[in-house]
Symmetry: D3
Subunit: 318 residues, 6 copies
């Protein structure tokens, strides 16, 4: 019997290519003892069910990465202790982790996350069983955030998107592409796309879930951020990248495909945040389930299909 895929059909009047799960949020405040919130997290099919790496924000306000397991992708059980990622001798030691992404490349699952090393940078670790984790070298110098791997090697190299940033709330941010022969040394940095010109993404942008491979290119869901006088608004955008030269943007939608509108998105610790960070794709049906952090407070689920996304980016993208 196959693993159940989280899914709801779109509402009848669904104008945008993405629709929310009607029972959102799927992970509420205070999900387990000591933890205030889980959001901006990442999941993957694993061993006939689902596994995930979650940004668990403790009551101290610090975030740590916890493993979660789920049979249906909706109801999750969390490990009470954070993932034991430990630097080797003479390697950087780390003190926090947030906004993880999760990517299977070959037989291994790689976690990338925002890692503290004299500023935020891209941490990297691998696992095969979600019990034992091997930490690799940080991919970049600080400051960097939103490091997102591609799910296969491209031209023989591992490939990653990232967003150079600063120590703070970072009022700027563009997406770059870099590659590595060995997951330790990175180079051939290419600019992919930048903030703006549209207002909803005028402040900064950053990659969301791992790019979804299609014959037409990599589907990239990303967050775009604008600044109002009462703070930032994080929405989700859609672009299509060239398969072999992903820094070539084939299409990019000028409008967002999801903006914070629901009560659990417009209120919370950081009002007006919808932050997509992971996607499941059902190869047989083309169904896609997105996981996104809402208001830096809870976790929501939204749906689409590969065809709808492709159709939308082709129709609306420039």
């Amino acid at each position: 019997m196959s693993t159940p895929f989280p899914w709801q059909e779109p509402p009848a009047d669904c104008e945008l290519p993405i629709w929310r799960y009607t029972r959102n949020p799927i992970i509420n405040r205070n999900p387990f003892p000591g933890v205030a919130k889980i959001y901006n997290s990442a999941v993957t099919p694993f061993d006939g069910a689902y596994a995930g790496v979650f940004r668990a924000e403790y009551r101290t306000g610090m975030s740590h990465l916890h493993v979660g397991r789920s049979a249906d992708g909706i109801h999750w059980d969390f490990a009470p202790a954070p993932i034991p990622v430990t630097a080797g001798a003479d390697e950087p030691a780390f003190d926090y982790g947030y906004d993880p992404r999760l990517c299977r490349v070959g037989e291994e699952y790689f976690i990338t996350w925002c890692n503290g090393y004299h500023g935020p940078t891209i941490g990297l670790a691998s696992t095969r069983d979600f019990k034992n984790f091997t930490q690799l070298e940080n991919a970049f110098l600080p400051c960097n955030r939103n490091g997102v791997l591609f799910p296969r090697k491209i031209n023989g190299h591992y490939a990653i998107l990232s967003r150079p940033s600063d120590q703070g709330h970072t009022p700027f941010g563009d997406i770059f592409y870099s590659v590595s022969p060995d997951l330790t040394h990175w180079g051939q940095h290419r600019f992919v796309m930048g903030a703006g010109p549209e207002w909803w993404q005028a402040k900064k942008i950053g990659a969301g879930p791992n790019p979804i491979e299609t014959p037409a290119g990599w589907l990239l869901i990303y967050h775009g951020v604008c600044g109002t006088c009462n703070g930032f608004i994080y929405s989700a955008g859609l672009a299509l990248l060239d398969l072999e030269r992903p820094w070539h943007v084939i299409k990019r939608c000028p409008g967002y495909i999801m903006a914070p509108e629901e009560p659990y998105e417009v209120t919370g610790s950081v009002p007006n945040v919808a932050f997509p960070s992971s996607a499941l794709v059902d190869a047989a049906t083309g169904r896609v389930a997105f996981y996104y952090g809402a208001a830096d407070t809870v976790t929501g689920l939204a749906f689409s299909t590969v065809d709808r996304l492709l159709d939308y980016v082709n129709t609306h993208g420039k």
Copy 2:
């Protein structure tokens, strides 16, 4: 049969001179395809019904001006394309429009709005049928916002209120009065009133609906803005200006007459915004219907009467 005037009687315990429509907001998110929000807009009686010019914020985050029509002032139909305002040869070209005001002077209807020309400034256009629009010269150098015409000439000149500003969120702002013999050249600039001293309007102020003429003076509803550590709060204030020398403030209420309190005002893209931008006045009854943007997200309706406003400003104003 006369045009129905949007109206509700005040609640029994109505302490302030303005009360909200109980079925607010009248224009919700996603009002028509491609448009995310309509707010900060302006209406007028027209041809036995109502016409309006609406700030329609697209999913790109850019705002454009759309015409709307309504039989009752509450339910609106919107034109799917923006108003075709086009600069003449060798005149400034524009790229966006927001926060429109609408003012009948004589037989013509004038739209003023925040127009993009090397910074925000006051755009000006006229129409007689809400189908054909003639764009005039911008009234001022950038940066300026909240240009609001008076509904008749004063001392033989067109008259306007405006608020010089900056390129950004503008942490300052006073109201000035200027006149023009020809709607092209403007001068005789006079300071009307400034931000503060009360805290709710300590950051900046700007004119709201077109001033309402009464024998006692011009009733001016305006927005006052204060800054908290989590952003600005936009409330509505009330003042009475001299009829022939409107830069003379006869009375000004130290307290606001409406502040964001309802769920649709305190949450949204810009929480805590109640932005009055238009008023209908029923000459026979003295009833007033205010249109206001809420949280830069939706449009609300509120009511008062000329007598209540005059009585309030006389009683509470200084």
Copy 3:
């Protein structure tokens, strides 16, 4: 017959040592004519019932201090006029007051509040009947906020906590301890504890209710503030101070004990504020009732017991 103490038993699954009153907020918006909000206020048992000093924010946005009376600590009647605190000849004159604290020392009740004198500083006044108030010298030079007295002399001196600040929203703030032989001259300033290192209190901290004396030390509830890209979040923390040398921190909890979560805390004029400012302690039972401002908009009530607080700070504190 004894005075009823405001109280609710904790919910069954209460993980934190503090729980909210289920009928919060106890003081809603527009509590009495002319006043928009009451929050960040202070109460005390008095004359077989309860008296309080309340931050009443007028529609002008200015705050003034009003006396309130209550038979049950939950339902309050407010004086329509502010407390008549008047400076003596050749003494500083004041123009506003906010965030009052209330402390009985001996037979007198002392109000401390944020007082305007060339910047915010700590105002001080005494009363025995909540009708006649004697204003004393300001305790400190500007700028200072959150002055909180101890309920008895320590080593023969009056003792106070305060938080030096700046003229604005103050992106920093530590708690200091000072003493006075005469309530006029203050000195022997000692650093008690500072902002951070945990994120929820990384921006600034300030004392909340008057410290609660226990054999193990003074229980201090305080507010901790962090800054997100959409503004500050005010939460409540817990520490235990040495009885005779209160600038020695015995224990301090790394996690908050209450953070803004309820609708009336996460939305309002300043979203995401839970600001504890007063506590009643029932000596017989050890029950504690906390009053806190929510979102700078309404007043809430929360409960605990001395034993639970002590146990929590001993278990979780460092």
Copy 4:
């Protein structure tokens, strides 16, 4: 006998089209009792000699406009009292003046300056004898600086360049063109040119002396400003504007034509400022004498010829 024109031949190796007077500064610190500095001022031929309007900075730091007279354009006598510009009844009253320009149009001499009226704006006054001055309406709403008239009407209208700004040090600034039929009402605002793209003028630009008419167009000397980690640098640039449509830029030099290099330019109250504000042109020889403020402290003189300037802007401009 003709009026002597201030002049020195260029040094032999003069690469740039402008060269300094070797006995600069011509007006030093403390030029007459009570006045600390004279800089950023303007002169004109008048009555067989020279007259000027000077920014005199008092020891209070406030600047006022004083008339000066000179037989040779180099040695100046200053009126001990400021120019008596007085607003009419019900007109704006002013409290300071700085950075004056001086322009003869027809038989009248017009002063434009930075005038205080709820922010800096463009003051305007006329004189025929440098004794009696008639103040006109301010040309624009605040905030605006560097208002510079053209020396003749263009298309039947008075014409002015100005630079909208803010209340403070203004980190932006472009040059606009506006016209007036009556010196009271202004309109038909046109963007002329903006800051950048070259680094020396990347922060802001503003018109300097009145444009110099040539058959090929208006020669415009302007200041360009860049921002270093240690403050702004003000240099001088050169452009050529269309004669009848001066908002059309025919040529603009990518490099500056004078940058602060001399000790009296790189040190002073505002280091690194060379601010050209006036020019004399000798019609017979084409000689040009520029007056410029140096370091907001002293006044310098520099020379060129119309032919050299035209040749340079044609050769180097884009």
Copy 5:
């Protein structure tokens, strides 16, 4: 034989009441091994010669207080080690000191300085021999700078001027007056005078040398600071305070009496600083010698007489 008093007669054309020593600076860069600069320091007659406490900035950039001795007030020998001020048990420990003042009250000499204790505050120490120093409690909570004692008790209390500030470069600052019965507890805080309205002192002001007692009142030399686009300018101002109620300002000069003009004042580590910090008064002749820091780099000397200062403040003050 009497101690020589440092002195030069004024230049013939001396318009202002203060004139510089012609051989300034008296203490140059690199004054003794390990020390980069000495500036902003204080001196006093002592034991038939002069003693002083100097801000010595080490090559680390940290400042420490060193004793200096001089026979003529011009040539100084410095102790190689800093003053051993040591906090008592359970008292604040300090880590740096700058901008000292020195004041004899009765038989004791008191040093006040900017002391590091969780932010800058006013350190206080006493000595009778300039060898043994007793450190007292800090006078105020942080942040505070420029604490300047009066040279006698007033109304039976020690009296001090100070300027509440912030942790950084402090863009604000007014002078306050406080008193103490015991040099430990301070209170009765009174506002003396604030920044502005004149531009040269529009940003902040702070007391300079100890006030000089005259029958007409206390002569106060203070620094006033304005902000240009290229940084702050520190000049010196003059005021006359009431003898017994020094927070009453009798006269205050609208213009500065000394501004940075000399090369050693307009260049250095902090260009454009003239910072008076100490004064010697010759009782027999009324001569006054001022010591001032120049450009945070060197130490200068300037002269006046009590009569000239009194005459100037009476003539020019308001």
Copy 6:
């Protein structure tokens, strides 16, 4: 005959381990046509003389890299056109270059510089003849500055120091170490040392000349920056790094070894900058000649010896 090495003996009283060339600056303003300034540049012995890569700031304010040649290391001839570094097909294109370093590794000379690619980053190019240059991939993602190579491989990898920064004036900055097997992919990022704690280097630090190898470790001259109210001060510091693990700091001097003091260092376009960027070492004598930019305006020369530097860092370092 050997190449003359630029050299002067130290002055008699030289307390610090570095002393200036008495005929500084060696490259003045306006060094050749079209170029305003040369500073922050790098040199190397080459072909029996000296070659260098120079930051030439044009009159546009843009900086480009020019080759220079010199027989004595003091008098330089510059190529009139910038170095032709050209990106390959599908590689980043660049538009400016500044602050070059120059490092021989094996038979090749490598230039690293601040390269414009969506923000400043580390450009890399190689040459063998100073005529033909091969541009390599940028070493890092933007934003980064002050990339400085080691003059030999370490543990088989190329090694570089760099300082992650931001788009602007960057108020922070630490030195990191990274390695590469192929000069294209970089990783194993290690923190070397950070800004502070001493004030002169409290804001940011960055590597200067290429590290100088000695048996005791790598001698690293670097710049340290502090922030005053009037801008940044750039001084030079000294540290000793472990030979094989250069991110291990053996010793670091708490005080600077050179700070801006000379007129050509404290005035200029960016006052108070002494920026060491290159060093020549005479193997036979141990003499060292440093090249440094002064005030972002001119180029100076300073001297030391390897023994003096080692002795100083061993004696004064921590």
